[in-house]
Amino acid sequence: MSKHIQPQLFDTNQEIEWCPGCGNFNILKALKRAFTELEKKPEELLLCSGIGQAAKLPHYINSNIYNGLHGRALPIATAAKIVNSELTVIAIGGDGDMYGEGGNHFIHTIRRNPNITMIAHDNQIYGLTKGQASPTSNFGMITKLQKHGVINRPFNPLSVAIGLNCSFVSRGFAGNIEQLTSILKKAILHKGFALVDILQPCVTFNKLNTYKWYQERVYNLDDEGHDPHDQQEAFRKSLEFGDKIPTGIFYENKENYLNTYEQNVGVDDQALTKKSDDSRDITALMLEFT
């Protein structure tokens, strides 16, 4: 850990609005640790989020924040990054926010490949609206809205991302802060779009996917010698979600063609705002209209 920067540098005086015991607390802790260990300064960070309990997280980290609309953290984060590539940009939200309302942006941001990190607090339930099914809820799970059980097949963010040749695909578990911190650090350091899906028990509304339920199932891909550069193997692992649930880094794309969005539009080296100047002479353009 750095001598100069302490974790409390990222503390804020905001009252935290999460339920006691919520998995979000550990995610917050891991993220602050990751920033500390990476020696980030608050002013270098931009945390973007949508709406939901998870999306309140930016308020609890001392940093620049843009807490926008439900589902729209990614377009905000992508555009902010392309305008100022010097910022470390993180998009944060829950499973409903990122995979439901924002599902289209999830797909197309992977294709665009900005150098940002997306953190999905995946608790397989809607919290802020009090207990309806989310895109990742288990098939058959009974909620107060889905009284006969969830009839939609769950959305699998990892296999979608790997199928799209996403730059970096990982899964953490809120019950393992150490591993989660390590994943978050790698995701932030990775150059390109990095997905960190985090299994996050909801102690209030999800009585199925509890800490205990996850603890009994999760294992670390590293322990199996998983090769994160093997897309097919990563895809196979992403389909595993039942008695055993893999965590860790599933896939890291090393292909040369996969430049970042900023590289592709030529603003990787310098912020757009520093490149553009105001004295624009359009005389030559106007003469094309004679």
């Binding site: 843009y66 807490n67 926008g68 377009p75 757009l272 553009s276 624009r280 005389t283 004679t290």
Partner: protein, 578 residues
């Protein structure tokens, strides 16, 4: 002799109507004429019946004309559809070999057969040059100096090599000569080049908005393509590299406006281009710009709705929508350009107002303005001022504590950019405190909502009064807004020449309306008649709600087509006003 000559070119989509109309327009523009080019096309790539019109005049014109002086028929439908618009003695130019059958008799009009395709094949070896033959034949019939056309073709094709340039010029010259040798009186209508004393350009509204955006400091454009706004996006994309502008094709309009807001938050002058349907998807993000006080410019080119409506036609049907869109109450500004010249300067103004008041600003155009080409004086860049209204790093270093939403007298909080200093910048779509953190207390809500709305007081002072034109002492005053300026002005001019006392008051900065100024201009006018390209008089309602001024007579058009002076005068006759 004064010139006001209207050429209509009809044919199927894909036959090159726009190639012919564009070459003709520049040929006459460069000879010193004012040219107005409009297009009617269906939402399809091939087939159907489309037409373009090139109106040539020595007066400043901003509108179409109803009657046709020369018809170029590339298909049989061109004759059937437009026969009633022809003046007595009008010549219809056609290649008889490529028209299936002609059902209309040549009574008051005459057919002039020019074998476009055969000449193209003979002279330049391929039928691809038949449009150049046709263009040459039209220029020949008007006995206009050929060199102007040769110059236009040279510039149009020079990127494709000397052979292609020469083939086009040869084909055009053959068409020109054919017309002069075979038309009974050599000249159908004499148009003589004038001295080119002023710097004029021929631009569409889309292009003028693109030029205004570039000149006004645009750095980031995100959009989802949608007619009729796409031309502006394309024009900016064509020139983006030269000016370090990023153009992003978003996955949908929701992403487009959110991206523009994200880019603006990080410090770029940002805009989106769209039409009504796309803007409908942006409504929530409009409010996001409102509550997070993030500057953004929204160019909305209107087309008739609801839903898909008439994608390639025109209407002023979205005014009430843009003024009322999104939940909640927050300041916004709506500018509605009269013509491309106005569009250029208003685009620059839109960016400056957005930056100064940290609000969304609309440029509300329509298909008529977006797609028609207007002759305008070259834009004056000396008066362009790019105002950022952002705290510099040096200024921020001197501030001890920074609050993004500091309560101020004007309602405007000094704006910092994230990463530009040690100070943190926090923005929230929730109601928030001065720091930008969630605050749901009643006291804070009242304070913050009032602060945002306070900006309206300064904003309304930025709005220029409407334009007044015509006789001071008038019996009739037309009240219009936006792109209907051209046809209304022409109606005023025509009626004035006939001895009527008419004038016009025209609004191009439509929201918010400066109540006192507007009232003082309109209160003493006789017989106000609202002219709007919609069915329900949306500006009339706005004027009433903002100023209490009631206009009870109106001329409304909502068939998808723009006004002409002839329409307006015809309606006045119907209303027994003249």
């Amino acid at each position: 002799m004064s010139v006001d000559f209207n050429i209509k070119i009809g044919g199927e989509a894909g036959q090159g109507l726009q190639t012919i109309s564009s070459a003709l327009a520049k040929t006459f523009l460069n000879g010193g004429y004012n040219v107005f080019v409009s297009h009617f096309f269906l939402s399809r790539i091939r087939g159907g019946h489309n037409f373009s019109e090139v109106r040539i005049s020595d007066e400043q014109i901003n509108s179409k004309k109803n009657s046709v002086d020369l018809l170029v028929a590339l298909d049989a439908k061109s004759i059937e559809h437009h026969y009633d618009e022809l003046n007595e003695g009008t010549v219809i130019v056609l290649d008889i070999n490529s028209i299936e059958s002609i059902t209309k008799e040549a009574d008051d009009v005459s057919y002039f057969d020019v074998p476009f395709t055969d000449i193209a094949k003979d002279i330049s070896g391929h039928k691809i040059y038949s449009n150049s033959v046709a263009t040459g034949a039209i220029v020949g019939l008007l006995c206009y100096e050929f060199q102007y056309l040769a110059d236009v073709l040279t510039r149009a094709f020079e990127s494709k090599g000397d052979d292609i340039v020469q083939n086009n010029i040869n084909a055009a010259k053959a068409g020109y000569d054919y017309a002069q040798e075979n038309y009974a009186t050599q000249c159908y209508h004499m148009v003589i080049p004038k001295d080119k004393t002023t710097n004029k350009i021929l631009v569409t509204g889309n292009e003028a908005i693109g030029l205004g955006a570039i000149s006004g400091g645009l750095q980031f454009l995100s959009a989802y393509p949608m007619s009729p706004s796409t031309g502006a996006m394309l024009y900016i994309a064509d020139n983006a590299d030269k000016f370090n502008i990023i153009v992003e094709q978003a996955e949908d309009e929701i992403a487009a406006l959110n991206m523009a807001i994200g880019a603006s938050f990080a410090g770029a002058r940002s805009m989106v281009t769209t039409s009504g349907g796309g803007f409908a998807l942006m409504a929530e993000a409009l409010g996001l710009a409102g509550i997070t006080e993030t500057p953004v410019v929204i160019y909305l080119a209107q087309r008739p709705g609801p839903a898909t409506g008439l994608p390639t036609m025109t209407e002023q049907g979205d005014l009430q929508f843009v003024i009322n869109a999104s939940q909640g109450e927050f300041p916004r500004c709506v500018l509605a350009p009269m013509n491309p010249k106005d569009a250029f300067y208003l685009t620059v103004k839109a960016f400056n107002i957005a930056a100064k008041y940290q609000i969304p600003v609309f440029l509300l155009g329509d298909q008529y303005l977006a797609d028609s080409s207007f002759t305008v004086p070259i834009f004056d860049q000396d008066n362009i001022d790019v105002e950022h209204w952002v705290l510099s790093s040096e200024e921020l270093d001197e501030i001890e504590e920074y609050k993004r939403y500091l309560i101020t007298e004007s309602g405007i909080s000094p704006r910092a950019l994230p990463g530009s200093s040690k100070h943190l910048v926090c923005a929230d779509s929730d109601e928030h405190d001065e720091y930008g953190h969630i605050d749901q207390t009643i006291e804070n809500r009242i304070k913050m909502n009032s602060k945002r709305l306070k900006k309206n007081e300064g904003l309304v002072k930025e709005i220029f009064p409407p334009l007044e034109y015509g006789s001071n002492d008038s019996d009739i005053t037309f009240v219009g807004w936006g792109s209907t300026y051209g046809p209304i002005k022409e109606a005023v001019d025509t009626l004035t020449k006939k001895g009527y006392h008419v004038n016009m008051v025209h609004f191009n900065e439509v929201y918010p309306l400066p109540q006192e100024t507007v009232t003082s201009i309109l209160k003493d006018k006789n017989s106000l008649i609202a002219i709007e390209n919609n069915a329900t008089g949306q500006f009339t309602k706005l004027l009433y709600s903002e100023t209490g001024i009631k206009i009870s007579q109106s001329i409304l058009r909502f068939d998808g087509l723009p006004f002409t002076a002839d329409n307006i005068i015809g309606k006045l006759h119907d209303m027994e006003m003249i």
